[in-house]
C-alpha cells in the first residue's frame, strides 16, 4: 500500500503538535515548584477535598448509571414498546447537548423553585447548589456510556443459551444471573468505567448546579480554573497532572477490561 510515509508522518506530527507536546507541558510545569512544592500543592486540604468530591460524586453517578443503564439497554434490546426509537435516539443526548446547556437546564429544574426542586423541597431534599446536584449532573453526562456498551453485546447474545437454561429447569432470574449477566459483565463494567472517567473531569454541566463552595461543593476542574485565574500556573498544572495520572490509570483499566471482553466474546 502506498502513502504510508505521508500519512504516518502527518499522523505523528499532528498528534504531537495538538496532544502530546501540550500534555508534556502539563507534566513539566509543576516541577518548578520543586518536589516538596508539588506534594504541598496536591495535598492541600482544599485540593484533597475537591478530589474526594469529584471522584466520590463520579463513583455514585456511574453506579446509578450502572443499574439504570443496564435496565435501559435490556428494555431496548429485548422488548417492543411505543416510543422505543425515540428513547433509543434520546440516549445519546448527553453526547450531543452542550454541557453548559445541560448545566443551566438541570439547575433550573432542581432549583428550589424549579419543576423538580419544588416537588422535593417539602421533603427537605435540596439538590441544586449541593453535592447532590453534582451527582445529578454527572449522572446526566454519563448516561449513554453503560447503555451503549451493553446494548451491542446483549444484541449478539444468542437466546439458545437461555432456552437451554430454561429446559434445564432454571427460573428466569437464575437464567439471567447465571447465563446472561456473566456474558455482559465485561461490557457493563467498561460502560461504568467510561462513565466514571467522563464524570471525573466534567466541568460545564457541574459548575452551574454545584454552588461551588470550597470544601463542600467545589470540584477539582473548577479548582484548576480558579488557580489559573490567580496566575498560579504551576499549582494548576500540579493538580491537573494529578488528575491526568489518575485518568491515565483508569484508561489502562478500561483497555484491560475491553481486552477481557474481546477474549470472552471469541
Amino acid at each position: 500500500m502506498p502513502g504510508f510515509g505521508l500519512t504516518f508522518g502527518f499522523t505523528v506530527f499532528y498528534l504531537s503538535a495538538i496532544v502530546l507536546i501540550p500534555l508534556a507541558a502539563l507534566l513539566i510545569r509543576p516541577w518548578e515548584l520543586g518536589v516538596a512544592g508539588v506534594i504541598d500543592a496536591v495535598s492541600a486540604p482544599r485540593v484533597v477535598a475537591s478530589l474526594k468530591l469529584s471522584f466520590g460524586a463520579a463513583a455514585i453517578a456511574s453506579a446509578i448509571n450502572g443499574v439504570f443503564g443496564l435496565i435501559v439497554a435490556w428494555v431496548l434490546v429485548r422488548y417492543r414498546f411505543p416510543g422505543k426509537r425515540i428513547v433509543d435516539a434520546l440516549v445519546d443526548l448527553p453526547f450531543a447537548l452542550p454541557t453548559a446547556v445541560a448545566g443551566i437546564a438541570l439547575t433550573t429544574l432542581y432549583a428550589p423553585n424549579g419543576w423538580i426542586g419544588s416537588a422535593l423541597a417539602p421533603f427537605g431534599i435540596h439538590v441544586a447548589f449541593t453535592p447532590l446536584g453534582i451527582v445529578v449532573a454527572l449522572t446526566f453526562i454519563g448516561l449513554p456510556f453503560v447503555v451503549r456498551s451493553v446494548q451491542p453485546v446483549l444484541d449478539d447474545l444468542d437466546r439458545e443459551y437461555e432456552e437451554a437454561a430454561a429446559t434445564l429447569g432454571a427460573t428466569r432470574g437464575q437464567a439471567f444471573r447465571r447465563v446472561v449477566f456473566p456474558t455482559i459483565l465485561p461490557a457493563w463494567l467498561t460502560g461504568i468505567a467510561l462513565a466514571f472517567a467522563r464524570a471525573v473531569g466534567e466541568y460545564g454541566s457541574v459548575i452551574f448546579i454545584a454552588g461551588n463552595m470550597p470544601f463542600i461543593s467545589e470540584i477539582t476542574p473548577l479548582l484548576i480554573v480558579i488557580k489559573l485565574e490567580q496566575f498560579d500556573y504551576a499549582g494548576a498544572a500540579a493538580v491537573g497532572a494529578a488528575m491526568l495520572a489518575i485518568s491515565f490509570a483508569m484508561l489502562l483499566a478500561i483497555n484491560t477490561l475491553q481486552a477481557w471482553a474481546r477474549a470472552r466474546s471469541t
Binding site: G3, R29, A102, L106, L109
Partner: protein
C-alpha cells in the same frame, strides 16, 4: 352462557412475565424522561418564557450573533482539520503494519479521557503570558490565548479522536484487498484512495464528522479556559450562554441555549438516520 375452560397460554421460557416487562419498561422510560427529556423541554420552555419576540431579540442581539459566528468559525477550522487527520491516521493504521500500532491508537484516544479543563489548561501553559512559549510569541506579536487561535486549538484537542476512531476499526475490518486490486490495475495511490477507499467509508466519515461537529460547537470547559470571555470577540455560543446566565438574564441565556439544543436534536436525528440506513457501513455505530 357457559364459561369457557381456562386455557393455559404458551409462555416462551426466555420471556419475562408481563408484570416484569411492564415494570422494566416503565423504569427505563421514567429514567430517560427524568434525566434526558425533562431538561430538554426545560431549555425550550425557559427560552420562550417571555414570548417569541423576546426569544428572537435575544438571538439577533449583537453579541449573540458574534458568538454564533465565532462558533461556526471555530468548528469550521477544527472539524475539517480533525477529519483530515482521521483519514490520514486510519489509512496509516488500518492499511499498514508497523510496530507500536496499539500504542498509537491509545494515544489518539487520549483526549477523551482528559478533563476539558485540562485540555484548555495545556495551551495556557504553552502559549499563555506566563507559558513556555508565551514571551517568545509575545515578542513576535503573536497572540494565541484569549484569541480565536486559542479557541480553535482547544476545540481541536477535545474533538481530536472523533473521526479517527470511527474510521480506524471500519477500515481495519475492510482490509486491503480492494485497494491492492486497484493498484495492480495501475491506479495511483491517490486514485485508489479517492475511488476505492473513500466511497467505502463515506458514511462512517460523515458519522464521525457529525459527532465531531456537535462537540466542537458545544464545547465549554476547554474553550472557557483559553477564551478570556471577551464579549463579542472571544465568546462562543456556550460561553455566551454562561455569561447571560451569570448576569441573571435567564430568558436570553435559554434562548441562545435553545439554538444549541436544536443543534443537538438535529445531530441526533441525522445520527439515527445514518444508523438506520447505513448501519452496516458504519461498523462503529453504537460504539463510543
Amino acid at each position: 352462557m357457559t364459561a369457557s375452560p381456562p386455557r393455559k397460554e404458551f409462555h416462551p421460557p426466555t420471556r419475562e412475565s408481563f408484570a416484569t416487562r411492564v415494570v422494566l419498561v416503565s423504569v427505563a422510560v421514567l429514567y430517560i424522561s427524568l434525566f434526558l427529556f425533562t431538561p430538554l423541554i426545560a431549555v425550550f420552555t425557559e427560552g420562550f418564557r417571555n414570548g417569541v419576540d423576546a426569544f428572537l431579540n435575544a438571538i439577533v442581539e449583537k453579541d449573540a450573533l458574534a458568538a454564533v459566528k465565532l462558533t461556526f468559525i471555530v468548528a469550521g477550522i477544527a472539524v475539517p482539520l480533525n477529519s483530515l487527520f482521521g483519514l490520514a491516521a486510519a489509512w496509516a493504521i488500518a492499511k499498514h503494519d508497523f510496530k507500536g500500532k496499539s500504542l498509537l491508537i491509545t494515544l489518539i484516544d487520549l483526549p477523551f479521557s482528559v478533563s476539558p479543563v485540562i485540555s484548555g489548561l495545556v495551551y495556557v501553559l504553552l502559549f499563555g503570558a506566563h507559558g513556555f512559549l508565551g514571551p517568545t510569541l509575545d515578542a513576535l506579536g503573536i497572540k494565541i490565548i484569549f484569541t480565536t487561535a486559542g479557541l480553535v486549538l482547544a476545540t481541536m484537542f477535545v474533538t481530536f479522536p472523533f473521526v479517527a476512531r470511527e474510521l480506524i476499526p471500519l477500515m481495519q475490518e475492510q482490509g486491503v484487498s480492494e485497494e491492492e486490486a486497484a493498484i495492480s490495475l495501475g491506479a495511483s495511490g491517490w486514485q485508489t484512495f479517492w475511488n476505492v477507499t473513500l466511497p467505502n467509508v463515506r458514511w462512517a466519515l460523515l458519522y464521525g464528522v457529525l459527532l465531531c461537529n456537535a462537540r466542537a460547537m458545544g464545547e465549554f470547559g476547554a474553550v472557557s479556559v483559553v477564551s478570556g470571555h471577551i464579549r463579542g470577540l472571544t465568546n462562543t455560543m456556550p460561553l455566551h450562554v454562561e455569561i447571560l446566565y451569570n448576569e441573571y438574564n435567564f430568558a436570553a441565556a435559554f434562548a441562545v441555549a435553545s439554538l444549541l439544543a436544536l443543534l443537538a436534536l438535529v445531530t441526533l436525528v441525522l445520527k439515527s438516520a445514518l444508523e438506520w440506513h447505513y448501519g452496516e457501513e458504519i461498523a462503529a455505530s453504537h460504539r463510543h
